[in-house]
Amino acid sequence: MKTVLAIENVHKFFKVGFIPKKKEILKGVSFAVAESEIFGYLGPNGAGKTTTLKCILGLIFPDRGKIEIFGQPHLEPRAKERLGFLPENPYFYDYLTAREFLDFYAQLFRVKKDERKERVASLLNLVGMDRARDLQLRKFSRGMLQRIGLAQALVNEPSLVLLDEPLGGLDPLGRKEIRDIIIRLKAEGKTVFLCSHILQDIEMICDRVAIIVDGKILSQGPLTDLISEKILFTEITLSGLAAKDLAGLGESLSAHGGRTLIKVFHEEKIQEILDLVKNRNAKIHSLIPRTQTLEDLFVEVVKSQ
Protein backbone atom coordinates (compact mmCIF):
# COMPACT_ATOMS: atom_id res chain seq x y z
CA MET A 1 0.00 0.00 0.00
CA LYS A 2 1.30 3.44 -0.92
CA THR A 3 2.14 5.74 1.97
CA VAL A 4 0.44 9.11 1.72
CA LEU A 5 1.58 10.70 4.94
CA ALA A 6 4.73 9.69 6.80
CA ILE A 7 5.83 11.11 10.11
CA GLU A 8 9.17 10.08 11.50
CA ASN A 9 10.40 10.73 15.00
CA VAL A 10 8.89 14.21 15.33
CA HIS A 11 9.81 16.18 18.43
CA LYS A 12 8.37 19.54 19.41
CA PHE A 13 9.24 21.75 22.33
CA PHE A 14 7.27 24.75 23.51
CA LYS A 15 8.53 27.42 25.83
CA VAL A 16 6.05 27.98 28.62
CA GLY A 17 5.78 30.33 31.59
CA PHE A 18 6.99 33.83 32.37
CA ILE A 19 10.55 32.64 32.68
CA PRO A 20 10.45 30.38 29.60
CA LYS A 21 10.88 26.72 30.38
CA LYS A 22 11.11 24.14 27.63
CA LYS A 23 8.30 21.63 27.61
CA GLU A 24 8.35 18.68 25.26
CA ILE A 25 4.94 18.28 23.66
CA LEU A 26 5.79 15.65 21.04
CA LYS A 27 8.30 13.04 22.14
CA GLY A 28 9.28 11.29 18.96
CA VAL A 29 6.01 10.67 17.14
CA SER A 30 6.13 8.28 14.16
CA PHE A 31 3.37 6.82 12.05
CA ALA A 32 2.40 6.34 8.44
CA VAL A 33 -0.98 6.72 6.76
CA ALA A 34 -1.64 4.54 3.73
CA GLU A 35 -3.60 5.48 0.65
CA SER A 36 -7.42 5.22 0.77
CA GLU A 37 -7.73 4.46 4.44
CA ILE A 38 -9.43 6.26 7.27
CA PHE A 39 -6.82 6.75 9.94
CA GLY A 40 -7.97 7.64 13.44
CA TYR A 41 -5.64 9.66 15.64
CA LEU A 42 -6.81 9.43 19.21
CA GLY A 43 -5.66 10.74 22.50
CA PRO A 44 -6.87 12.47 25.65
CA ASN A 45 -6.99 16.28 25.78
CA GLY A 46 -3.53 17.80 25.67
CA ALA A 47 -1.85 14.63 24.40
CA GLY A 48 -0.46 16.34 21.30
CA LYS A 49 -3.05 15.53 18.63
CA THR A 50 -3.53 19.05 17.36
CA THR A 51 0.18 19.81 17.72
CA THR A 52 0.96 16.87 15.43
CA LEU A 53 -1.60 18.15 12.95
CA LYS A 54 -0.12 21.66 13.04
CA CYS A 55 3.33 20.22 12.37
CA ILE A 56 1.97 18.37 9.32
CA LEU A 57 0.34 21.54 8.02
CA GLY A 58 3.38 23.74 8.55
CA LEU A 59 1.70 25.96 11.13
CA ILE A 60 4.43 25.11 13.59
CA PHE A 61 7.89 23.76 12.92
CA PRO A 62 9.03 20.50 14.51
CA ASP A 63 12.34 20.75 16.36
CA ARG A 64 13.40 17.34 15.11
CA GLY A 65 12.05 14.68 12.79
CA LYS A 66 10.76 14.41 9.26
CA ILE A 67 7.31 14.78 7.73
CA GLU A 68 6.46 13.81 4.18
CA ILE A 69 3.19 14.23 2.30
CA PHE A 70 2.89 12.27 -0.95
CA GLY A 71 6.64 11.62 -0.69
CA GLN A 72 7.47 15.33 -0.64
CA PRO A 73 8.69 17.54 2.21
CA HIS A 74 5.56 18.79 3.95
CA LEU A 75 6.28 22.51 3.57
CA GLU A 76 6.35 22.35 -0.22
CA PRO A 77 3.30 24.10 -1.71
CA ARG A 78 3.11 21.17 -4.15
CA ALA A 79 2.56 18.78 -1.26
CA LYS A 80 -0.27 21.00 0.00
CA GLU A 81 -2.01 21.12 -3.39
CA ARG A 82 -3.73 17.81 -2.67
CA LEU A 83 -4.41 18.42 0.99
CA GLY A 84 -7.66 19.37 2.68
CA PHE A 85 -7.87 20.53 6.29
CA LEU A 86 -10.66 21.20 8.75
CA PRO A 87 -9.47 22.74 12.04
CA GLU A 88 -11.04 22.12 15.42
CA ASN A 89 -13.72 24.70 16.33
CA PRO A 90 -13.34 26.39 12.99
CA TYR A 91 -13.47 30.17 12.83
CA PHE A 92 -13.61 31.72 9.44
CA TYR A 93 -13.89 35.12 7.86
CA ASP A 94 -17.23 36.07 9.29
CA TYR A 95 -17.70 38.97 6.90
CA LEU A 96 -17.96 36.59 3.93
CA THR A 97 -21.06 34.75 2.82
CA ALA A 98 -20.87 30.94 2.52
CA ARG A 99 -20.53 31.19 -1.25
CA GLU A 100 -17.86 33.91 -1.18
CA PHE A 101 -16.00 31.97 1.46
CA LEU A 102 -15.75 28.76 -0.57
CA ASP A 103 -14.97 30.74 -3.71
CA PHE A 104 -12.07 32.44 -1.93
CA TYR A 105 -10.53 29.12 -0.93
CA ALA A 106 -11.07 27.69 -4.41
CA GLN A 107 -9.18 30.68 -5.80
CA LEU A 108 -6.22 29.86 -3.57
CA PHE A 109 -6.05 26.54 -5.42
CA ARG A 110 -6.22 28.38 -8.75
CA VAL A 111 -9.52 26.75 -9.73
CA LYS A 112 -10.90 28.44 -12.85
CA LYS A 113 -13.89 30.74 -12.57
CA ASP A 114 -16.57 28.60 -14.27
CA GLU A 115 -15.41 25.50 -12.50
CA ARG A 116 -15.39 27.35 -9.18
CA LYS A 117 -19.04 28.24 -9.43
CA GLU A 118 -20.01 24.66 -10.10
CA ARG A 119 -17.79 23.22 -7.40
CA VAL A 120 -18.95 25.67 -4.74
CA ALA A 121 -22.58 24.81 -5.53
CA SER A 122 -21.99 21.08 -5.34
CA LEU A 123 -20.04 21.40 -2.07
CA LEU A 124 -22.79 23.49 -0.49
CA ASN A 125 -25.18 20.78 -1.54
CA LEU A 126 -22.93 18.01 -0.18
CA VAL A 127 -22.77 19.49 3.32
CA GLY A 128 -26.44 20.52 3.26
CA MET A 129 -25.84 24.25 3.34
CA ASP A 130 -27.65 25.26 0.18
CA ARG A 131 -30.15 27.39 2.00
CA ALA A 132 -27.46 29.43 3.77
CA ARG A 133 -25.34 30.15 0.73
CA ASP A 134 -25.83 33.93 0.80
CA LEU A 135 -25.70 34.29 4.55
CA GLN A 136 -22.65 35.88 6.20
CA LEU A 137 -20.70 33.40 8.30
CA ARG A 138 -21.12 35.60 11.38
CA LYS A 139 -24.74 34.44 11.48
CA PHE A 140 -23.84 30.73 11.39
CA SER A 141 -24.33 28.34 14.28
CA ARG A 142 -21.49 26.10 15.40
CA GLY A 143 -22.82 23.10 13.52
CA MET A 144 -23.21 25.17 10.36
CA LEU A 145 -19.61 26.39 10.69
CA GLN A 146 -18.50 22.79 11.06
CA ARG A 147 -20.28 21.87 7.83
CA ILE A 148 -19.00 24.83 5.87
CA GLY A 149 -15.55 24.03 7.28
CA LEU A 150 -15.76 20.54 5.86
CA ALA A 151 -16.83 21.95 2.49
CA GLN A 152 -13.80 24.23 2.62
CA ALA A 153 -11.54 21.23 3.27
CA LEU A 154 -12.84 19.54 0.12
CA VAL A 155 -12.70 22.55 -2.19
CA ASN A 156 -9.59 21.35 -4.03
CA GLU A 157 -10.82 17.75 -4.35
CA PRO A 158 -7.96 16.65 -2.11
CA SER A 159 -6.38 13.20 -2.00
CA LEU A 160 -5.65 13.52 1.70
CA VAL A 161 -8.11 15.12 4.11
CA LEU A 162 -7.06 16.05 7.64
CA LEU A 163 -9.97 16.53 10.00
CA ASP A 164 -9.61 17.79 13.55
CA GLU A 165 -12.70 16.84 15.58
CA PRO A 166 -15.00 16.94 12.55
CA LEU A 167 -17.98 15.72 14.58
CA GLY A 168 -17.70 18.25 17.39
CA GLY A 169 -20.65 20.56 17.87
CA LEU A 170 -23.01 18.53 15.72
CA ASP A 171 -26.34 16.99 16.64
CA PRO A 172 -26.75 13.20 16.20
CA LEU A 173 -28.24 13.61 12.74
CA GLY A 174 -25.47 15.98 11.69
CA ARG A 175 -22.88 13.54 13.00
CA LYS A 176 -24.34 10.78 10.91
CA GLU A 177 -24.31 12.97 7.82
CA ILE A 178 -20.68 13.94 8.30
CA ARG A 179 -19.77 10.29 8.98
CA ASP A 180 -21.46 9.33 5.73
CA ILE A 181 -19.48 11.99 3.88
CA ILE A 182 -16.23 10.66 5.37
CA ILE A 183 -17.12 7.13 4.29
CA ARG A 184 -17.96 8.42 0.85
CA LEU A 185 -14.55 10.12 0.65
CA LYS A 186 -12.90 6.78 1.33
CA ALA A 187 -15.04 5.13 -1.34
CA GLU A 188 -13.80 7.78 -3.77
CA GLY A 189 -10.25 6.66 -3.00
CA LYS A 190 -9.34 9.56 -0.75
CA THR A 191 -7.34 9.17 2.43
CA VAL A 192 -8.79 10.57 5.64
CA PHE A 193 -6.80 11.45 8.75
CA LEU A 194 -9.15 11.95 11.65
CA CYS A 195 -8.37 13.41 15.07
CA SER A 196 -11.10 12.81 17.58
CA HIS A 197 -12.03 11.70 21.02
CA ILE A 198 -15.53 10.61 20.10
CA LEU A 199 -14.53 6.97 20.11
CA GLN A 200 -17.78 5.45 18.91
CA ASP A 201 -17.52 7.40 15.69
CA ILE A 202 -13.91 6.46 15.16
CA GLU A 203 -14.72 2.82 15.82
CA MET A 204 -17.50 2.94 13.26
CA ILE A 205 -15.47 4.33 10.39
CA CYS A 206 -11.71 4.00 10.93
CA ASP A 207 -9.52 1.31 9.38
CA ARG A 208 -6.47 1.99 11.48
CA VAL A 209 -5.84 3.99 14.61
CA ALA A 210 -2.92 5.40 16.58
CA ILE A 211 -3.28 6.39 20.21
CA ILE A 212 -1.12 9.24 21.46
CA VAL A 213 -0.70 9.86 25.17
CA ASP A 214 1.54 12.56 26.59
CA GLY A 215 3.35 13.12 23.30
CA LYS A 216 4.09 9.47 22.60
CA ILE A 217 2.31 6.97 20.37
CA LEU A 218 1.44 4.10 22.67
CA SER A 219 -0.50 1.88 20.33
CA GLN A 220 -1.16 1.78 16.61
CA GLY A 221 -2.39 -0.64 14.02
CA PRO A 222 -5.52 -1.88 12.22
CA LEU A 223 -8.57 -1.56 14.40
CA THR A 224 -9.34 -5.26 14.01
CA ASP A 225 -5.88 -6.17 15.34
CA LEU A 226 -6.02 -3.82 18.29
CA ILE A 227 -9.46 -4.73 19.48
CA SER A 228 -9.85 -8.41 20.13
CA GLU A 229 -12.92 -10.12 18.74
CA LYS A 230 -12.97 -12.26 21.85
CA ILE A 231 -16.13 -12.06 23.88
CA LEU A 232 -15.31 -10.38 27.17
CA PHE A 233 -18.57 -11.19 28.87
CA THR A 234 -22.26 -11.66 28.12
CA GLU A 235 -25.07 -9.59 29.55
CA ILE A 236 -28.30 -11.51 30.11
CA THR A 237 -31.63 -9.95 31.12
CA LEU A 238 -34.14 -12.43 32.48
CA SER A 239 -37.19 -12.67 34.69
CA GLY A 240 -38.77 -15.42 36.74
CA LEU A 241 -35.66 -16.39 38.66
CA ALA A 242 -34.70 -15.27 42.15
CA ALA A 243 -31.30 -13.73 42.78
CA LYS A 244 -30.29 -16.70 44.95
CA ASP A 245 -30.88 -19.11 42.05
CA LEU A 246 -28.32 -17.25 40.04
CA ALA A 247 -25.67 -17.17 42.73
CA GLY A 248 -22.32 -18.32 41.44
CA LEU A 249 -23.32 -18.12 37.80
CA GLY A 250 -22.43 -14.51 37.20
CA GLU A 251 -22.33 -11.04 38.57
CA SER A 252 -25.81 -9.74 39.25
CA LEU A 253 -25.91 -6.11 38.16
CA SER A 254 -29.45 -4.91 38.75
CA ALA A 255 -32.98 -6.04 39.36
CA HIS A 256 -35.88 -3.83 38.29
CA GLY A 257 -39.53 -4.69 37.78
CA GLY A 258 -38.93 -8.40 38.17
CA ARG A 259 -36.10 -8.38 35.58
CA THR A 260 -32.54 -9.21 36.50
CA LEU A 261 -29.48 -8.11 34.58
CA ILE A 262 -26.59 -10.49 35.00
CA LYS A 263 -23.05 -10.30 33.68
CA VAL A 264 -21.63 -13.72 32.80
CA PHE A 265 -17.93 -14.23 32.17
CA HIS A 266 -17.72 -17.96 31.27
CA GLU A 267 -19.40 -19.57 28.29
CA GLU A 268 -20.36 -22.76 30.15
CA LYS A 269 -22.21 -20.67 32.75
CA ILE A 270 -24.39 -19.24 29.97
CA GLN A 271 -25.54 -22.75 29.15
CA GLU A 272 -26.24 -23.42 32.83
CA ILE A 273 -28.38 -20.28 33.03
CA LEU A 274 -30.27 -21.23 29.86
CA ASP A 275 -30.99 -24.70 31.29
CA LEU A 276 -32.15 -23.17 34.55
CA VAL A 277 -34.49 -20.79 32.70
CA LYS A 278 -35.96 -23.69 30.74
CA ASN A 279 -36.48 -25.88 33.80
CA ARG A 280 -38.06 -23.16 35.90
CA ASN A 281 -40.23 -21.74 33.10
CA ALA A 282 -38.50 -18.41 33.45
CA LYS A 283 -37.97 -16.00 30.60
CA ILE A 284 -34.93 -14.58 28.76
CA HIS A 285 -35.41 -10.99 27.51
CA SER A 286 -32.01 -10.38 26.00
CA LEU A 287 -28.61 -11.98 25.68
CA ILE A 288 -25.85 -9.67 24.49
CA PRO A 289 -22.24 -10.74 24.06
CA ARG A 290 -19.79 -7.86 24.70
CA THR A 291 -16.55 -7.72 22.77
CA GLN A 292 -13.79 -5.27 23.49
CA THR A 293 -14.57 -1.73 22.30
CA LEU A 294 -12.20 0.98 21.24
CA GLU A 295 -13.15 2.71 24.45
CA ASP A 296 -11.92 -0.25 26.49
CA LEU A 297 -8.65 -0.22 24.60
CA PHE A 298 -8.33 3.53 24.96
CA VAL A 299 -8.95 3.49 28.70
CA GLU A 300 -6.52 0.59 29.08
CA VAL A 301 -3.77 2.35 27.12
CA VAL A 302 -4.21 5.70 28.83
CA LYS A 303 -4.33 4.11 32.29
CA SER A 304 -1.21 2.03 31.63
CA GLN A 305 0.57 5.34 31.21
Binding site: K80, F85, F104, L108
Partner: protein, 254 residues
Protein backbone atom coordinates in the same frame (compact mmCIF):
# COMPACT_ATOMS: atom_id res chain seq x y z
CA UNK B 1 -1.67 34.99 -8.00
CA UNK B 2 -2.01 33.86 -4.39
CA UNK B 3 -0.97 37.35 -3.29
CA UNK B 4 -3.69 38.83 -5.47
CA UNK B 5 -6.39 36.53 -4.07
CA UNK B 6 -5.42 37.36 -0.49
CA UNK B 7 -5.11 41.06 -1.31
CA UNK B 8 -8.62 41.19 -2.77
CA UNK B 9 -10.00 39.32 0.23
CA UNK B 10 -8.21 41.74 2.56
CA UNK B 11 -9.73 44.62 0.63
CA UNK B 12 -13.14 43.03 1.08
CA UNK B 13 -12.47 42.61 4.79
CA UNK B 14 -11.36 46.22 5.18
CA UNK B 15 -14.26 47.76 3.30
CA UNK B 16 -16.73 45.71 5.35
CA UNK B 17 -15.16 47.06 8.54
CA UNK B 18 -17.20 49.82 10.14
CA UNK B 19 -14.19 51.64 11.55
CA UNK B 20 -13.18 52.60 8.01
CA UNK B 21 -16.39 54.52 7.46
CA UNK B 22 -16.14 56.19 10.83
CA UNK B 23 -12.70 57.48 9.90
CA UNK B 24 -13.87 58.45 6.43
CA UNK B 25 -16.73 60.41 7.99
CA UNK B 26 -14.42 62.32 10.29
CA UNK B 27 -11.97 62.93 7.47
CA UNK B 28 -14.75 64.40 5.34
CA UNK B 29 -15.92 66.46 8.30
CA UNK B 30 -12.42 67.73 8.91
CA UNK B 31 -11.97 68.66 5.25
CA UNK B 32 -15.30 70.51 5.28
CA UNK B 33 -14.45 72.31 8.52
CA UNK B 34 -11.58 73.97 6.65
CA UNK B 35 -14.25 75.99 4.84
CA UNK B 36 -15.41 77.46 8.14
CA UNK B 37 -11.83 78.17 9.17
CA UNK B 38 -11.35 79.95 5.86
CA UNK B 39 -14.30 82.22 6.64
CA UNK B 40 -12.77 83.14 9.99
CA UNK B 41 -9.37 83.93 8.57
CA UNK B 42 -8.17 87.22 7.23
CA UNK B 43 -6.38 86.80 3.93
CA UNK B 44 -6.32 83.99 1.46
CA UNK B 45 -9.09 81.60 2.41
CA UNK B 46 -8.24 79.14 -0.37
CA UNK B 47 -4.84 78.49 1.21
CA UNK B 48 -6.45 77.62 4.53
CA UNK B 49 -8.83 75.20 2.81
CA UNK B 50 -5.98 73.52 0.95
CA UNK B 51 -3.73 73.42 4.00
CA UNK B 52 -6.27 72.01 6.42
CA UNK B 53 -7.73 69.71 3.76
CA UNK B 54 -4.40 68.13 2.86
CA UNK B 55 -3.44 67.81 6.53
CA UNK B 56 -6.77 66.04 7.21
CA UNK B 57 -6.22 63.62 4.34
CA UNK B 58 -2.72 62.85 5.60
CA UNK B 59 -3.76 62.40 9.23
CA UNK B 60 -6.88 60.31 8.68
CA UNK B 61 -5.13 58.25 6.03
CA UNK B 62 -2.43 57.43 8.56
CA UNK B 63 -5.06 56.54 11.16
CA UNK B 64 -6.76 54.19 8.69
CA UNK B 65 -3.45 52.52 7.85
CA UNK B 66 -2.57 52.08 11.52
CA UNK B 67 -5.95 51.07 12.93
CA UNK B 68 -6.77 48.57 10.20
CA UNK B 69 -3.20 47.45 9.45
CA UNK B 70 -2.34 46.52 13.03
CA UNK B 71 -5.39 44.27 13.28
CA UNK B 72 -5.01 42.53 9.95
CA UNK B 73 -2.42 39.86 10.70
CA UNK B 74 -3.08 39.64 14.42
CA UNK B 75 -6.77 38.94 13.92
CA UNK B 76 -5.97 36.09 11.54
CA UNK B 77 -3.78 34.47 14.19
CA UNK B 78 -6.09 35.22 17.10
CA UNK B 79 -9.23 33.99 15.31
CA UNK B 80 -7.26 31.06 13.92
CA UNK B 81 -8.38 31.79 10.37
CA UNK B 82 -4.71 31.60 9.48
CA UNK B 83 -4.78 27.83 10.14
CA UNK B 84 -6.79 27.08 7.04
CA UNK B 85 -4.86 29.65 4.98
CA UNK B 86 -1.33 28.50 5.73
CA UNK B 87 -2.40 24.89 5.12
CA UNK B 88 -3.20 25.85 1.53
CA UNK B 89 -0.45 25.78 -1.08
CA UNK B 90 1.15 29.10 -0.30
CA UNK B 91 4.31 30.47 1.23
CA UNK B 92 4.07 32.59 4.30
CA UNK B 93 5.46 35.69 2.63
CA UNK B 94 2.67 35.46 0.06
CA UNK B 95 0.17 35.71 2.89
CA UNK B 96 1.88 38.75 4.38
CA UNK B 97 2.32 40.52 1.04
CA UNK B 98 -1.31 39.78 0.17
CA UNK B 99 -2.40 41.47 3.39
CA UNK B 100 -0.11 44.40 2.64
CA UNK B 101 -1.34 44.98 -0.90
CA UNK B 102 -4.94 44.52 0.18
CA UNK B 103 -4.64 47.35 2.67
CA UNK B 104 -2.71 49.50 0.18
CA UNK B 105 -5.58 49.03 -2.26
CA UNK B 106 -8.07 50.00 0.46
CA UNK B 107 -6.10 53.13 1.26
CA UNK B 108 -5.92 54.03 -2.42
CA UNK B 109 -9.70 53.90 -2.67
CA UNK B 110 -10.12 55.88 0.55
CA UNK B 111 -7.58 58.50 -0.57
CA UNK B 112 -9.44 58.81 -3.87
CA UNK B 113 -12.73 59.41 -2.01
CA UNK B 114 -11.16 62.00 0.29
CA UNK B 115 -9.48 63.67 -2.67
CA UNK B 116 -12.77 64.00 -4.50
CA UNK B 117 -14.35 65.71 -1.48
CA UNK B 118 -11.30 67.91 -1.07
CA UNK B 119 -10.98 68.92 -4.72
CA UNK B 120 -14.69 69.63 -4.91
CA UNK B 121 -14.44 71.93 -1.89
CA UNK B 122 -11.46 73.73 -3.41
CA UNK B 123 -13.35 73.99 -6.69
CA UNK B 124 -16.32 75.68 -5.03
CA UNK B 125 -13.93 78.21 -3.56
CA UNK B 126 -11.62 78.97 -6.48
CA UNK B 127 -13.75 77.73 -9.39
CA UNK B 128 -10.83 75.79 -10.82
CA UNK B 129 -9.77 72.16 -10.46
CA UNK B 130 -6.39 72.31 -8.81
CA UNK B 131 -4.73 69.20 -10.17
CA UNK B 132 -1.40 70.01 -8.61
CA UNK B 133 -2.92 69.16 -5.25
CA UNK B 134 -2.76 65.56 -6.44
CA UNK B 135 1.04 65.69 -6.30
CA UNK B 136 0.88 66.30 -2.55
CA UNK B 137 -1.73 63.54 -2.24
CA UNK B 138 0.46 61.13 -4.22
CA UNK B 139 3.24 61.61 -1.69
CA UNK B 140 0.77 61.21 1.16
CA UNK B 141 -0.07 57.87 -0.46
CA UNK B 142 3.62 56.87 -0.56
CA UNK B 143 3.84 57.74 3.13
CA UNK B 144 0.73 55.66 3.88
CA UNK B 145 2.26 52.68 2.06
CA UNK B 146 5.25 52.89 4.38
CA UNK B 147 3.02 53.20 7.45
CA UNK B 148 1.02 50.18 6.30
CA UNK B 149 4.23 48.15 6.10
CA UNK B 150 5.14 49.27 9.62
CA UNK B 151 1.67 48.41 10.96
CA UNK B 152 1.90 44.95 9.40
CA UNK B 153 5.39 44.41 10.80
CA UNK B 154 4.21 45.14 14.34
CA UNK B 155 1.01 43.20 13.80
CA UNK B 156 2.95 40.08 12.89
CA UNK B 157 4.30 39.69 16.42
CA UNK B 158 2.33 41.98 18.73
CA UNK B 159 -1.23 42.72 19.84
CA UNK B 160 -3.28 45.38 18.00
CA UNK B 161 -3.14 47.87 20.88
CA UNK B 162 0.63 47.69 21.22
CA UNK B 163 1.07 47.62 17.46
CA UNK B 164 -1.09 50.72 17.13
CA UNK B 165 1.00 52.50 19.77
CA UNK B 166 4.25 51.46 18.09
CA UNK B 167 3.00 52.50 14.67
CA UNK B 168 1.74 55.82 16.02
CA UNK B 169 5.18 56.40 17.57
CA UNK B 170 6.72 55.63 14.20
CA UNK B 171 4.42 58.19 12.61
CA UNK B 172 5.16 60.89 15.20
CA UNK B 173 8.90 60.26 15.29
CA UNK B 174 8.88 60.24 11.52
CA UNK B 175 7.38 63.70 11.41
CA UNK B 176 9.74 65.21 13.95
CA UNK B 177 13.01 63.55 13.04
CA UNK B 178 13.82 66.37 10.64
CA UNK B 179 14.73 68.43 13.70
CA UNK B 180 17.61 65.98 14.22
CA UNK B 181 18.89 66.99 10.81
CA UNK B 182 18.88 70.61 11.92
CA UNK B 183 20.67 69.60 15.10
CA UNK B 184 23.36 67.76 13.14
CA UNK B 185 24.07 70.94 11.22
CA UNK B 186 24.46 72.92 14.44
CA UNK B 187 26.67 70.69 16.59
CA UNK B 188 30.46 70.58 16.13
CA UNK B 189 32.11 67.53 14.58
CA UNK B 190 32.79 64.70 17.05
CA UNK B 191 31.24 61.66 18.60
CA UNK B 192 27.85 63.32 19.18
CA UNK B 193 27.60 64.44 15.60
CA UNK B 194 28.32 60.88 14.43
CA UNK B 195 25.78 59.48 16.91
CA UNK B 196 23.13 61.95 15.82
CA UNK B 197 23.90 61.08 12.23
CA UNK B 198 23.41 57.34 12.91
CA UNK B 199 20.15 57.90 14.79
CA UNK B 200 18.87 60.13 12.00
CA UNK B 201 19.73 57.51 9.39
CA UNK B 202 17.87 54.75 11.24
CA UNK B 203 14.82 56.81 12.17
CA UNK B 204 12.29 57.38 9.44
CA UNK B 205 11.95 60.88 8.08
CA UNK B 206 8.37 61.16 6.95
CA UNK B 207 8.72 64.87 6.24
CA UNK B 208 10.39 63.68 3.03
CA UNK B 209 6.88 63.00 1.77
CA UNK B 210 5.45 66.33 2.85
CA UNK B 211 4.96 68.59 -0.15
CA UNK B 212 1.85 70.28 1.20
CA UNK B 213 3.42 73.70 1.76
CA UNK B 214 5.09 73.72 -1.65
CA UNK B 215 1.88 72.75 -3.41
CA UNK B 216 -0.36 75.12 -1.47
CA UNK B 217 1.93 78.10 -1.99
CA UNK B 218 2.69 77.20 -5.58
CA UNK B 219 6.43 76.77 -5.04
CA UNK B 220 8.43 74.76 -7.57
CA UNK B 221 9.78 71.42 -6.41
CA UNK B 222 13.02 70.23 -8.04
CA UNK B 223 12.46 66.86 -9.78
CA UNK B 224 15.45 65.29 -8.01
CA UNK B 225 13.78 65.99 -4.65
CA UNK B 226 10.63 64.25 -5.84
CA UNK B 227 12.67 61.34 -7.13
CA UNK B 228 14.68 61.09 -3.92
CA UNK B 229 11.51 61.06 -1.80
CA UNK B 230 9.89 58.35 -3.91
CA UNK B 231 13.04 56.20 -3.79
CA UNK B 232 13.31 56.76 -0.01
CA UNK B 233 9.71 55.63 0.44
CA UNK B 234 10.16 52.59 -1.76
CA UNK B 235 13.39 51.38 -0.14
CA UNK B 236 12.17 51.99 3.40
CA UNK B 237 8.97 50.04 2.64
CA UNK B 238 10.94 47.14 1.14
CA UNK B 239 13.18 47.12 4.22
CA UNK B 240 10.26 47.05 6.68
CA UNK B 241 8.41 44.38 4.68
CA UNK B 242 11.53 42.19 4.55
CA UNK B 243 11.79 42.52 8.31
CA UNK B 244 8.12 41.53 8.69
CA UNK B 245 8.60 38.49 6.45
CA UNK B 246 11.67 37.46 8.42
CA UNK B 247 9.72 37.62 11.70
CA UNK B 248 6.72 35.85 10.22
CA UNK B 249 8.54 33.07 8.40
CA UNK B 250 9.70 31.12 11.44
CA UNK B 251 6.75 31.87 13.70
CA UNK B 252 4.80 29.04 15.33
CA UNK B 253 1.03 29.49 15.23
CA UNK B 254 -0.07 27.86 18.43
Amino acid sequence: MTIKVIALNTFKEAVRDRILYLLLFFAALSILVSRILALLTVGDGAKIIKDVGLASISFFGALMAILIGTGLVYKEIEKRTIFTLISKPMRRHEFLLGKFFGLVLTLLVMLALMSVIFLALVFFHTFSVEWKMLLAILYIFIELILITAVAILFSSFSTPILSSLFSLCFYLIGHFSWSLETLIKKIPAGIFKVLAQIVYTILPDLENFNFKTEVVHGLTIPPQVLLYSAAYGFLYTVFILSLAILVFRRRDFI
